[in-house]
């Protein structure tokens, strides 16, 4: 079975419409995967390269497959993305550059053209939230960041995260507890800011 036929047999996570071809699937999943990579790697250029790697690996894996369908393509792709990011974070070259980069110095790829749009303030506020959370996430270890990112942004259960990261549930919970403990004050500030904005 070819890649296109394989993809045709898949269905999106939580969606009923089948994914018709690889290009359509890439377009649908790309923003989510790019944001996931950027949140984990804390660097736009690295995230760009990682996103391309993720889809290439997915494509190759689909080509090399013999039988069967992937029951949850979204989760499957997330797993490739997380592994790709963890590999990059582990590499010595990346560690070297990572030490030199501060989140405040990074070129965040956020469009400011949204200022012209009716919901411009919401967009700017969303960008601020993204930036402040990213700064907070930089204090976490790679594993803690992976666990927290999948929980906070992707709303995965700890059980799902354990499957994605191939860890037992207890370990994932321990990572999450430490992450929440480290981020407690930032999260309180974040939710207070959001609550305040919602009452304006």
């Amino acid at each position: 079975m070819g890649v296109m036929a394989e993809l045709a047999a898949m269905s999106n996570r939580g969606a009923t419409a089948p994914v018709l071809d690889f290009a359509v699937w890439v377009k649908a999943e790309q923003p989510r995967i790019f944001l996931l990579c950027r949140r984990m790697l804390r660097d736009g250029e690295e995230a760009d390269a990682a996103t391309q790697d993720v889809f290439w690996k997915a494509f190759k894996a689909l080509q090399n497959r013999e039988e069967g369908v992937i029951s949850d393509p979204g989760r499957w792709l997330t797993r490739i993305a997380v592994n790709t990011c963890l590999d990059r974070l582990r590499s010595r070259r990346w560690q070297f550059w990572r030490k030199r980069l501060e989140p405040s110095e990074e070129a965040w790829i956020l469009t400011m053209s949204a200022v012209q749009e009716p919901n411009a303030e919401d967009q700017i506020f969303a960008a601020e939230i993204e930036r402040s959370l990213a700064q907070a996430l930089s204090r976490l270890s790679d594993r803690q960041r992976a666990v927290f990112t999948l929980k906070h942004y992707e709303n995965r259960t700890l059980e799902e995260i354990a499957e994605i990261l191939e860890l037992d549930a207890g370990t994932v919970k321990a990572h999450m507890s430490r992450a929440v403990a480290k981020l407690r004050e930032d999260l309180k500030d974040l939710y207070q800011a959001v609550a305040k904005r919602r009452t304006i």
Binding site: F22, A23, V26, K27, Q30, P31, F34, L35, D48, T51, Q52, D53, V54, F55, W56, K57, A58, F59, K60, A61, R65, E67, G68, V69, I70, S71, W76, R79, I80, N83, T84, D87, I109, L110, T111, D122, Q123, F125, A126, A127, I129, E130, L133, F148, H152, Y153, T157, L158, K173, M176, S177, A179, V180, R184, L187, K188, Y191, V194, A195, R198
Partner: protein, 151 residues
Amino acid sequence: MSKHWTDEDFLNHLYEVGPGDGHLESCLECRARWEQWLKLRRFTLNPPTLDPGLLARQREQILARTQHGESTGRGKRWALAAALAGAVLFALLARAPNLVPSPENDSERMLLSKADAQLADAQLMSDVYHSVYQSEPGAVEAVQGLFEVDP
């Protein structure tokens, strides 16, 4: 009934790390506050707008890579294999004493040095061929376990 949850309790519950005392099931007041927390959380998930130009360029590169691998990759593989086979055959013919007479003039010597060069080329092509086509991306192996085979 256990005591009302604090903001810290709600925060922990949001990330599945506590408190796990079942208080939400029995307290209408805390359940209403929990709904508010869920709304706040949804608001924090409002994704930042990504540069559409960046996404388009990235998508082009992703698809170009898959097309390159599918179409020109296969052609290149055949071309390399054919060149490799030709070069090896020529080198064997040139080196076999019973099949090819020893060089008696300059043109024959030139032909043999050319055969040596092609043997070196063949080795190079063989190395390139193996490095290009036998390497698999690391994560591909890692995802094999995800495949769920239909019975």
